[in-house]
Amino acid sequence: MRNDAPPAPCPTLPLRFPPPLGGVAGTCFKPSHLTAILAGAPQRGFFEVHAENYMGAGGPPHHQLEAIRRDHPLSIHGVCMSIGGPQPLDREHLARFRKLVARYQPSLVSEHLAWSTHDTTFFNDLLPLPYTAATLARVCDHIDEVQSAIRRPILLENPSTYVAFHESTMSETDFIRAIVRRTGCGLLLDVNNVFVSAINHGFSPQDYLADFPLAAVGEIHLAGHAVQADDEGEPLLIDSHDGPVAYDVWALFANVIARNGPVPTLIEWDSNIPDWPVLQAEAAAAQTILDDHAPDCSQEVRDAAA
């Protein structure tokens, strides 16, 4: 009988990456939107998914993601690699991540400057780390390991944080710049995270962005945040992904694009998820800003004709 069938062949890893996306706006993919997406006209945008939601063996999740991937560029966004933690990466999880990247050949692959697992417990949150020479070395080792496993560079996302650490000896931007230099990874600039952290820690988001290594940015995230209060009753912003992008964040985004040119930009909206047209409209707003700063094609045509 056939119960010892040969193991499924491991999908071959990409030798070439899909072409760069350019200045395109995208949205997170939510299964509740699938019917509306497939029923609509073909669109320019890309879709981003959380890697862990597609690490099951089979069933509807893969069926849905294949339907999306057929007609759209894809971004795979890891949420649980725990790159910023003190312990070694989970090899089983890394193998699953590698398999997913090989199977779907996404245009973009990203992870977080954060940790989520300690000892054997998975905390399901993006937890902060101190910025020191020791944590820098470990984060770089972890990124090297991920990049070797998937055989392509990742984009690392800057965090939103609520606390700082006494032991930190470097600024976040210096820490991130050093990671880029040592590992060759790219960056996922989350503009909402910059704004949330700036308010929470009392620094200027413009200064942070002026100091951020923008040349390494391969993707931008935009999302909504919520407002709470800290122990002193001062505003504490929460990176809640549960509403439209705030005005201040749009302004910072427009500024980054004006300075640095268009890059793929994602609207994240993970709870209180709206109907598809609402999410689509938010992406269209980002696309307008990207298109305003697109390279002048007519100039290129004239140059080519000359």
């Binding site: 009988m1 099951g56 905390f123 949150d125 101190p130 929470n200 800290d230």
Partner: protein, 260 residues
């Protein structure tokens, strides 16, 4: 094993405090201008606990509908603190939740609840199981009758069985939608077969003897032995109906003989 640095550093301090609501804020953290960081750290505590409670709500919607949201959140919070996840794959979380419900004193009046939870856990396992083409019934018709007792079945990756002393399958089905729940006699024992032949998970009631029979076939026992055990469990066991029902439900992918 954790290195000493890992056991005392920032992550260990967070880990010790995240799931203990009354614990102290880690000494490693601070806030701008050396402000108090308690409410700031509580954001992480809240994110962790609430997101894990929500992952249990996503896995156990019928249990939540039966208990109501406030009851469920309190029960789930107690479970999250006692048994946090050990894998980053949250669709794998909550395997101990049905047993926890069985020990949860406020749920004593709902003795069927752990089995309803077991069906919901099996439902999600079937949803994420590997894809496989179910056995075509015609394959069975081609087996010579004298060889039938030695026939063995390869289980479909999604196939699961949940046995209950209560009407767990009926209660499950009535609470997985928003439709009004009819009056249910919860004391009728029910066995459930969970399958996913293509992309839709199906939950069926197994007839008397059916659970013994299906469990033995799924674990690769030969048809003859499985039928014998089923007759012993239920004298009115109907072999033809049971085998046709299992094949139609998509419980198997293949048949064969030990010697082939």
């Amino acid at each position: 094993m954790l290195q000493p640095e890992q056991a005392s550093g920032y992550a260990a301090q967070f880990a010790a405090a995240l799931l203990t609501p009354d614990g102290a804020t880690p000494v490693a953290v601070t806030a701008p201008g050396a402000k108090a960081a308690g409410r700031r750290f509580d954001v992480y505590r809240n994110n962790v606990t609430v997101s894990l409670i929500e992952s249990l709500i996503a896995i156990y919607p019928a249990v939540q509908r039966i208990t109501g949201p406030d009851f469920f959140r309190a029960m789930a919070r107690a479970h999250v603190r006692e048994t946090p996840p050990t894998s980053p794959l949250l669709f794998d979380y909550g395997r101990d939740f049905p047993c926890f419900i069985g020990r949860y004193e406020h749920a004593e009046a709902m003795p069927f609840l752990p089995d309803v939870a077991r069906i919901e856990r099996a439902w999600l396992d079937a949803y994420h199981a590997a894809d496989a083409v179910p056995l075509d019934g015609a394959a069975l018709a081609a087996v010579p009758p004298e060889r039938l007792p030695g026939l063995r079945f390869a289980a479909h990756p999604a196939a699961r069985i949940v046995r209950s002393d209560f009407a767990a399958a009926t209660i499950f089905s009535a609470n997985r939608s928003d439709a009004p729940v009819p009056r249910i006699d919860g004391s009728v024992p029910e066995d459930a077969l969970i399958t996913r032949p293509a992309f839709d998970v199906a939950v069926r009631h197994l007839p008397p003897g059916g659970a013994v029979f299906a469990t033995l076939l799924i674990t690769q026992h030969p048809l003859g032995a499985a039928a014998e055990a089923a007759f012993e469990a239920a004298p009115d066991f109907d072999l033809a109906t049971n085998i046709a029902g299992l094949i139609e439900a998509g419980a198997f992918t293949d048949i064969g003989f030990e010697d082939s």
